[in-house]
Symmetry: C2
Subunit: 230 residues, 2 copies
């Protein structure tokens, strides 16, 4: 609060409201995300941070979904490429784990990535990396193409699941529900007991990636896929 109404125009030592740019807006959004989570990355809050009105942002950003997608691509740029050791399967798992770890820190971002497919430069790099590794493993290109989608979707969805909304209580509720299930109506669930929820998250994630890779390797894509998507 060292406001002094002197030096009217020539000096401007304090940043005198930098001009709006798309990059500036996204950078500010990332800063808010880091400090307070995606919930606060709203048009209104962002505008306030940039010392303008929310309407001004719509010159650079189509809507909130697009804003969030841009933020995700930005964060994707911070994912360090996995070290090169090990066979292709291990490296594939490491790349995916690094991507998932980043999303785990921002589960709400993962949730929005599920609907607003990112298409920024960093996302393309990730796809290219995954395709390269699958190719190295001898997976046919068409199969690899669909496989990449499956792998990224799993990573994203798993992170999205970790959005907590009074979470701990809900988990307890689910545990109790499963435990209380009648042996007569749901014999398999009853027989499994806690196994349904057992295992550390990293173990389950690793298992899932390995299962996905094994499935992708072995499952052929239809000869001539019908047309385009939706």
């Amino acid at each position: 609060m060292t406001d002094r109404p002197d030096t009217p125009r020539s000096r401007r030592e304090r940043p005198a409201k930098p001009a709006l740019t798309r990059e500036g807006i996204i950078a500010a959004a990332v800063a808010i995300l880091r400090a307070e989570g995606l919930g606060k990355v709203t048009m209104r809050r962002l505008a306030q941070e940039l010392d303008t009105g929310p309407a001004s942002l719509y010159v650079y950003v189509r809507n909130t979904a697009e804003l969030h997608a841009a933020v995700l691509d930005e964060l994707l740029g911070t994912v360090r490429p996995a070290p090169a050791g090990g066979d292709w399967r291990e490296r594939l798992e490491r790349v995916l784990t690094a991507y998932t770890a980043m999303l785990f820190e921002h589960p709400t971002l993962a949730r929005s990535a599920l609907t607003a497919r990112p298409s920024g430069p960093h996302y393309l790099n990730l796809i290219e990396t995954l395709l390269t590794l699958l190719d190295e493993g001898g997976v046919p290109p068409a199969q690899a193409a669909w496989g990449v989608d499956l792998l990224l979707q799993h990573a994203t969805a798993t992170a999205a699941e970790h959005v907590e909304e009074a979470s701990e209580e809900d988990w307890d509720a689910l545990r109790r529900t499963l435990a209380g299930v009648a042996d007569r109506t749901h014999p398999r669930i009853a027989a499994l007991g806690g196994t349904l929820l057992a295992g550390a998250p990293e173990e389950r994630l690793s298992w899932a990636f390995r299962a996905l890779i094994a499935g992708i390797e072995r499952t052929a894509v239809p000869d001539r896929p019908q047309g385009d998507t939706t």
Copy 2:
């Protein structure tokens, strides 16, 4: 607007504001969902429909997330069990496809199911069915337990992806981005051309389920999984 202030108390031919119950609230929520989508299933709108204030609903429902979870379980009850023909793999795929088809009609519900894990009776039935089919296929119980999670997550996430938010334009943008990718920087993506996005949704879904099942069958769970899930 056939309001007549007669018949003061004894008759009440028009339903004179039925008492609030959890079931009544959820039924009203399902009706709004069917008519106008999940976006309109808000506490305020629901209260209006039930001729009360939003605060009243909090006696029966913890919050919006719990409301949506209850709605999902309700819809799950409408999924017709798949006919019994075919081998276990085919039947498994059919059950999952039926579940996914229901979610496809309410993608926003799928999105919320990803974070607020349902635990209602219909959801338990679905889990039991999947476990039974995997058991029939000789998949070890622990593996089946984690597999069920993987399968349901894929179904849910795929449906959630179909939330449209100016969708068609976004797809075009992604298509153009992929097409315009430089051969030098992203050779695999360039080589694949349209294959990355090729295939009808049903084909891709079917492929994904088959790949998942193949992977689940072949991937062993760690001997003694560490502790519990967070």
